[in-house]
Structure formats: structure tokens, C-alpha cells
């Protein structure tokens, strides 16, 4: 009996330890920099365009990367365009950090995935969105139908699906 008990306790402890480690990795608290091998890390070759501009660009690239990594390129630009479209919409904050950090506005910000190193294509996508490209067709919302509950979608009008995201107005 006692051997069984100690084995059980041992197994239990191991399971707890493994689960704890996995949870911490998943939530991005450790190995953040190690995960970068998954993404080809971006070169920081921005030609000094002013502090606040490059901070906004960095933020946008992070959101684009975390929300639309692996999507077609125009899907990445479209996520950037949604951030910019929100700036001109009365229901959203008026600055890029305001839009991005609005509570529960972006899943990647809520979950912390936004702090993983961004993929390099997301910087180009952010720049293209800033230069005026808008493949979202003027959208201010998007969602992933495979992941999101869509009870509220009925109230917004559909514009286009790009990759896995559906863009709405």
C-alpha cells in the first residue's frame, strides 16, 4: 500500500511540475526569447522617423504579428488598417496605443501574445497600412470564426474574408 501511495505522490508531483512549466511557457512568462526561433526575428532597420512614430510602428507590428501571423500578406496589412480605421471612428480611442490597449479590444493583448517577438513581415505590413493600403475595405472589426463566439456578428456588416479572418464594419 505504502509503495503505491508514494508512487502516486511521486507521479502527482511530476504532473504538477510539468503542468506548471507548460502553463508558464504558454502564457509567455518564460522562454519568451527562446520562442523567437519559431519566428524569423525582424531586423530593426527603421530610418529614424521620430520616437513616437517608431513606437507606434513597433506596437502595430506586434499586434499584426500576434493576431495574423501565418495569414496571407494582405490579411496582415488589413489588421494594421483596422487599427488605423479605428482612429477615425467615434467609438474608439484617438491614439494608436489607446486603440491597441483598450481593454479586451485585441485577443493578443489580453493574452499577452503581443509581447512575443514579431515576425519581420509584420513590420512591412504595418508600414504599408500607414502608407495608405487598406485591404480590409474600411473595416473596424474582425474576428476568426473558428475561434470566436459570433453572437454579436449579426449586428455588423460583413465586408470580406481574408485567410481565416472575417472583416466587418
Amino acid at each position: 500500500m505504502s509503495i503505491r501511495v508514494s508512487r502516486l505522490i511521486f507521479a502527482f508531483t511530476v504532473v504538477v511540475a510539468v503542468v506548471t512549466v507548460l502553463w508558464h511557457v504558454q502564457s509567455g512568462r518564460v522562454f519568451n526569447d527562446r520562442l523567437s526561433y519559431l519566428a524569423d526575428t525582424a531586423e530593426f532597420d527603421l530610418a529614424d522617423p521620430g520616437q513616437s512614430y517608431s513606437y507606434n510602428l513597433e506596437l502595430m507590428a506586434r499586434v499584426i504579428s500576434a493576431e495574423a501571423k501565418g495569414e496571407p500578406y494582405i490579411g496582415q496589412v488589413a489588421v494594421g488598417a483596422v487599427i488605423l480605421n479605428r482612429l477615425n471612428h467615434p467609438h474608439f480611442p484617438k491614439t494608436i496605443p489607446g486603440v491597441i490597449f483598450e481593454p479586451d479590444a485585441f485577443t493578443a493583448v489580453t493574452t499577452g501574445h503581443v509581447w512575443f517577438p514579431p515576425v519581420s513581415s509584420s513590420y512591412r505590413a504595418a508600414q504599408d497600412a500607414l502608407a495608405g493600403w487598406d485591404p480590409s475595405g474600411g473595416a473596424v472589426y474582425y474576428y476568426n470564426p473558428a475561434k470566436a463566439t459570433n453572437w454579436w456578428v449579426a449586428t455588423r456588416s460583413y465586408i470580406i474574408q481574408i485567410g481565416r479572418h472575417i472583416f466587418l464594419r
Binding site: 505522490i9 532597420d45 512614430y53 467609438h91 480611442p93 508600414q127 504599408d128 485591404p135 472589426y141 470566436a148
Partner: protein, 455 residues
């Protein structure tokens, strides 16, 4: 012996688990409290700013002095923007607040515009005064509702953390519309819903012509409707491919946003470019924008060559008389902005961007929505003022680098003919626009704002 080991191990694990549990719980409480305090701060500031807004609007309505009115408008604007900023920090995702948000946005625009126009020396018109009174009443209502809720929150019984728990975090974007389904269970949500319901009952004021419209009203592109095959052909020709040479194209969807357009996807034959996308307008069959997806290699051509390539591309696609006005290099590409030039006058509303990949000098992007919608030959009047007369309006401390005539859009999206002066102050380059009719300074821009270098 074995038995004792087992029980000892069990006791140790239980004690450790207990300690870890207590520590995690305390940490969570601490984080929760900090979050709650931040929400409380944001909310109480919203209450304060909306209350002050109502007060400033009241002052503006009463004051007989132009200077005081202007000051009240400027203060009201500041309070409105602070209130909006605070609202954006609260977890109100599941609560429908669009009337309140619309109100704040309109008040911001109204107070800002009037704090500016006041400086032209005119007092409020009857219509402006009537609008001001309506907005003041609505602001007072909002302030009362918020103050009441703020009082309840200060009693310590209501928590924002509970509102946050109620809010949906699963969806990618903040849901709106039917955000509160059924009766709200939370007192904070209830209070905000009462505010919103009250705001919805106020009639929507008519701001036409008083404040700038929130966005440019887009005229439709002239021309007959084209079919999908035609759209594919136009997109392919624009991107430099053809079906004969092995490219395949399809229309993915029709986009209903103005201007209505077809989203065309082209799969080129084997080579560097893997996919091409373009939006082609349903009416007139104009290419609104285009993107080529490809891996971009190391740079072999200079940005100056890129400008020449972009210009050649535009000419070949029928965009005549385009002058380069800005350029930005990033991640192996150059995005070059061009404006239409009519008899030496730069027409800024007719604007396109061409993106050139610097590895092999391929045009791999185009954005011309504005140009395609607004471009026309304008009837330009001879300017009232000569350039020398306009120059007198410049700040004498500036050194003028270059100058010329241009057409720009004002806040109301009206076209204005101006003299453009590129000036130097120390190391900085500024662009100053002086109205060619009135001699007034319309706008001052710093080169490189928005990250785009002016050429």
C-alpha cells in the same frame, strides 16, 4: 518504514502545495486590486471631465466676451478628449455605449472648431448658440448620471473587476451592437446602461456645415459597371501578367464598401511573386490598389532608381503628369508618393503611392483609391495674390527653400488653392500653405511627419 516514508512525503507535498496556493492567491488578489484601482481612477476621471465639460459649455453659452468664450471652448475640448481617453481605458466591452461615445466625439469636434473660428473675430451665430445649448443640456444629463454612479462606486460596494469578468474576451474584437443581451446583472453595467438609454433619447443635433464631417463623403466613380472577367483582365494587365503567359486569376468577392469593387486574386506562373491581389472598382473598372506577395531579397538598386521605375510604371498605366512628393524606405522596399500636377499646380487630393521592391526594382504595390475617386481636370482660377504677396504672410524667421502653387483639402474636405512654401528652420524642414485668395496661413506641416519623407 516504507509506510512512514510515504506519509512523510504526502505531508511535505501537502504543506508545499498549501504554501504555493496561498502565495498564488495573495498575488492574484494584489494584481486584482491594482487593476481595480486603475479602473476606479479612470472612471472617476471620466466623471470629473464630463462634469467640467458641462460647466465649460455653460460658461461658453453665458459669456459675452469673445476671449472668454474661446477659452471656455478650449477647456471644454480638453475635458472632452480626456473623458474619451478615460472611457477607452475601462472594460466596457460588453456594454453598448455608442450614443455616449458619439456625443463625446461630436462635442470634441464642435468645441475644437469653435475654439478655432472664434479667433477669426466672429461671435457665435444663432445656430451655433442653439447647438451649444442643446449640447450643454446633454452634457449635464451625462454628468448627473455619471456622478450618481461614481458616488455608488465610491461607497466601495461596486467593482469594475466584476464588469471585466462579465465582458467577453473570446472574440478578437470588442463586440458592439446587441452587447447587453437580457438584463445586466451588475450594478455598474446597469448604471451605464441607464446613461446610454438617456443619451439615446436626446435628438441628434444637426451639425451640417458647423463641424467637419467625420469622414470624406466619397463620390462614386463614373463609368459603366464591368463584369468579373473584365476585372480580372484589368488587374492582370495592371500587374503585368496575362492568361496567355500562364497566369490564373479569379474574383474572390465583391466588396460593398464605397467604392464598390471586385477583389481579384492572381496566381502568376512560377517565379518570385507567389500571389497578386488587387481591388478593381465595379464602376469604371479602375484599379484602387494592388499588392504582390514575394520574398524580398537584398537591396541592389538605389532609392533614386526606384523613383524613376515608379514614374515609368505610372506613365505606362496612363497616370500622366505625376510628381513625386514623398518617399519612405522600409524593409527592402521604397514607397513613393506622387501627386497630380496640373499646369504646374500640385493637386494633393489626387494622390497615389507606388511601392518598389529594391531587390530587383519590381513595382510590387500600388495605392490609388483617392486618385481614382477624385481625379479630374480642375478649373483653376488665377490666384488673387502673387507669390511675393503670399510670402509676406510667412514667419520672417524662416528660410524659404522652394515654393509653388498647390491645391489642398481643408478639414471640411473642401479644395483650396494655396501657395506652398518649403521652409527651413535650423535642421528642420517645414511646409507652410498660404491661401492664394485670402493670404491666410492654412496649414503648417513638418516634413517627415507620419514617417514620410518629403522629397
Amino acid at each position: 518504514m516504507r509506510q512512514r516514508w510515504g506519509w512523510t512525503a504526502l505531508a511535505v507535498v501537502v504543506v508545499i502545495a498549501g504554501f504555493v496556493g496561498i502565495r498564488e492567491y495573495a498575488l492574484r488578489k494584489e494584481v486584482e486590486l491594482k487593476t481595480e484601482n486603475q479602473y476606479q481612477r479612470a472612471f472617476q476621471e471620466v466623471v470629473y471631465h464630463v462634469d467640467s465639460l458641462a460647466e465649460e459649455l455653460g460658461k461658453a453659452a453665458v459669456s459675452g466676451s469673445l476671449l472668454q468664450t474661446q477659452k471656455a471652448f478650449a477647456d471644454a475640448w480638453r475635458h472632452t478628449e480626456s473623458a474619451r481617453s478615460g472611457l477607452g481605458q475601462l472594460p466596457v466591452g460588453t456594454i453598448q455605449l455608442s450614443s455616449t461615445e458619439d456625443f463625446l466625439s461630436q462635442v470634441a469636434s464642435f468645441t475644437y472648431t469653435l475654439s478655432q473660428t472664434g479667433s477669426h473675430g466672429s461671435s457665435l451665430s444663432d445656430r451655433e448658440w442653439a447647438l451649444l445649448r442643446d449640447l450643454r443640456d446633454q452634457a449635464r444629463f451625462a454628468a448627473e448620471e455619471l456622478t450618481r454612479l461614481g458616488g455608488e462606486m465610491a461607497s466601495g460596494k461596486l467593482r469594475w473587476i466584476d464588469v471585466q469578468r462579465e465582458s467577453m474576451t473570446t472574440s478578437a474584437m470588442r463586440p458592439e451592437g446587441e452587447r447587453t443581451q437580457g438584463a445586466p446583472s451588475n450594478q455598474v453595467t446597469k448604471g451605464l446602461k441607464m446613461l446610454e438609454d438617456g443619451m439615446t433619447r436626446f435628438p441628434t443635433p444637426d451639425f451640417e456645415g458647423v463641424i467637419p464631417p467625420p469622414r470624406k463623403k466619397l463620390p462614386s466613380i463614373p463609368g459603366p459597371e464591368i463584369g468579373t472577367d473584365e476585372a480580372i483582365k484589368i488587374a492582370m494587365e495592371f500587374a503585368g501578367y496575362s492568361i496567355e503567359k500562364g497566369a490564373r486569376g479569379k474574383v474572390i468577392t465583391t466588396i460593398s464598401s464605397e467604392p464598390k469593387s471586385y477583389r481579384v486574386e492572381i496566381t502568376p506562373p512560377k517565379g518570385g511573386v507567389s500571389k497578386v491581389w488587387a481591388d478593381v472598382s465595379v464602376r469604371g473598372g479602375r484599379v484602387l490598389w494592388m499588392f504582390k506577395e514575394s520574398a524580398i531579397g537584398s537591396q541592389t538598386i538605389s532609392p533614386a532608381t526606384a523613383v524613376a521605375i515608379a514614374k515609368t510604371f505610372l506613365t505606362s498605366q496612363g497616370f500622366q503628369n505625376m510628381r513625386e512628393i514623398s518617399r519612405r524606405d522600409y524593409q527592402g522596399v521604397s514607397a513613393i508618393g506622387f501627386a497630380y500636377e496640373q499646369n504646374g499646380v500640385l493637386i494633393y487630393p489626387d494622390y497615389v503611392v507606388v511601392r518598389v521592391a529594391l531587390d530587383e526594382g519590381r513595382v510590387d504595390g500600388f495605392e490609388g483609391t483617392n486618385y481614382q475617386i477624385f481625379h479630374k481636370i480642375r478649373a483653376l482660377k488665377e490666384p488673387e495674390l502673387s507669390e511675393a504677396e503670399a510670402r509676406e504672410g510667412l514667419n520672417p524667421r524662416l528660410t524659404v527653400v522652394s515654393s509653388g502653387l498647390a491645391v489642398i483639402l481643408d478639414d471640411f474636405y473642401r479644395e483650396k488653392q494655396v501657395y506652398e512654401f518649403r521652409c527651413k528652420l535650423g535642421k528642420d524642414i517645414y511646409v507652410v500653405y498660404i491661401n492664394a485668395e485670402t493670404g491666410e496661413e492654412e496649414e503648417v506641416k513638418k516634413a517627415e511627419t507620419g514617417g514620410f519623407e518629403l522629397i
